[in-house]
C-alpha cells in the first residue's frame, strides 16, 4: 500500500511485519504499564502495613468508621464490571463489535455506580470532620490521634484508585466511539484488550483495598 491511510483492521502499521506482531508488541506495552501500576500501589500498601503495625489501635478505630456494606457493594459492582469487560474482549476477538459495545456500556455504568457510592462515602467522612487536611479534620471526632493517619491512607489510596476509575471511564468512552465506528476486527482488537487489562488491574487493586480498609 503506497498511498492513503492504513486500514488497521486488515493490515499492520508499516513498521511491523504482521498483525500478530503489532498486536503482541502493543499488548506487551500495556503489560509493562500494568507492572508499574502494581509497584506504585505496592509502595502505598507497604506504607499502610508499616503504620498498621505501629498504630494498631488507630487502624482498628479507622476501619470501624467505614461502612463495610458500602465497600462490599462496590466490590461486587467492580467484579461485575470486570466480567462484562472480559466479555467485551471475548466479543471483539470474534469481531462482534456490537456485542462488545453493549458490554462496554455495562462496564461504564458499573464504574459510575462505583463512583457515586464513593461520593456518598467521601462526603459523609468530610461531613463528620474525618478528612485529614484543608482544616477539615476534627480531632474530637476520633479517640486515637493516629486515626488521622489511617484516614490519610484511606483517602490517598482509595482516591488514587478512584482517579483510575475515572480514567477508565474516559477509556471506555473512547472504546465505545471506536466500536460504534466498527474500527475493530478479528485481526485488530488491541485497544479493547489493552483497556481490559487496565480495568482488571484496577479491580485487583480494589480486591486488596476492600478488606484492608473496611474489614480488618
Amino acid at each position: 500500500m503506497s498511498t492513503g491511510k492504513v486500514d488497521r483492521r486488515v493490515e499492520p502499521s508499516h513498521h511491523f511485519d504482521s498483525m500478530i506482531q503489532e498486536h503482541d508488541a502493543g499488548k506487551q506495552g500495556v503489560w509493562l504499564f500494568m507492572a508499574t501500576e502494581l509497584m506504585m500501589f505496592g509502595a502505598l500498601f507497604a506504607g499502610y502495613f508499616i503504620y498498621r503495625t505501629k498504630y494498631f489501635d488507630a487502624w482498628v478505630e479507622g476501619g470501624s468508621l467505614l461502612d463495610w456494606r458500602l465497600g462490599a457493594f462496590n466490590t461486587i459492582v467492580l467484579l461485575l464490571s470486570s466480567f462484562t469487560m472480559a466479555q467485551a474482549v471475548t466479543d471483539s476477538m470474534q469481531g462482534h463489535n456490537k456485542k462488545a459495545f453493549r458490554n462496554v456500556i455495562i462496564t461504564t455504568a458499573c464504574a459510575f455506580i462505583f463512583m457515586i457510592v464513593k461520593y456518598f462515602e467521601y462526603s459523609g467522612k468530610i461531613h463528620h470532620g474525618l478528612f485529614p487536611g484543608l482544616g477539615m479534620w476534627n480531632p474530637e471526632a476520633v479517640e486515637v490521634a493516629q486515626t488521622k493517619l489511617f484516614m490519610t491512607f484511606y483517602f490517598v489510596m482509595t482516591g488514587l484508585h478512584g482517579i483510575h476509575i475515572l480514567v477508565g471511564i474516559g477509556l471506555m468512552v473512547w472504546l465505545m466511539k471506536r466500536l460504534k465506528n466498527d474500527e475493530f476486527s478479528k485481526e485488530y482488537y488491541t485497544s479493547v484488550e489493552g483497556v481490559g487489562l487496565y480495568w482488571h488491574i484496577v479491580d485487583i487493586i480494589w480486591i486488596f483495598l476492600f478488606p484492608l480498609m473496611y474489614l480488618i
Binding site: 503482541d24 507492572a35 502494581l38 509502595a43 466490590t75 467484579l79 478488606p211 480488618i216
Partner: protein, 94 residues
C-alpha cells in the same frame, strides 16, 4: 487471529461467580469468625487467590506468553521485596 485464545462466555461467567463467592467468604470470615491477628493473613490469602483468578482468566495470563507473565511476576517480586525489607526493618528496631 489464530494465535490467540478466545475465552468463552461460560469461562468468564464462572470466573465472575468464583470471585463473588470468594468476596462473600472474605466478608464472612472477617466479620463473624474471630481468628485474632490471623484474620489479616486469611483476608490477604483470599485476596491473593482472587487476584490470581483475575490474572489467569480475565487477564488471559493462563493463555499468554511467558514474556507477559514474566513482566507481571517481576512487578510482584519487587513489591514483595519492598514488603520483606520493610518488615525486617520494623521488627528489628529497638
Amino acid at each position: 487471529m489464530s494465535g490467540h485464545h478466545v475465552v468463552p462466555f461460560k469461562t468468564n461467567l464462572i470466573t465472575f461467580l468464583t470471585l463473588v463467592v470468594l468476596t462473600v467468604v472474605t466478608v464472612y470470615t472477617a466479620k463473624y469468625v474471630d481468628l485474632g491477628e490471623f484474620n489479616l493473613a486469611l483476608a490477604m490469602a483470599i485476596a491473593g487467590v482472587k487476584a490470581t483468578v483475575v490474572g489467569l482468566w480475565f487477564m488471559h495470563l493462563k493463555y499468554d506468553t511467558w514474556m507477559n507473565r514474566a513482566i507481571m511476576l517481576s512487578a510482584i517480586v519487587f513489591v514483595a521485596l519492598l514488603f520483606v525489607i520493610s518488615a525486617v526493618d520494623m521488627f528489628t528496631r529497638a
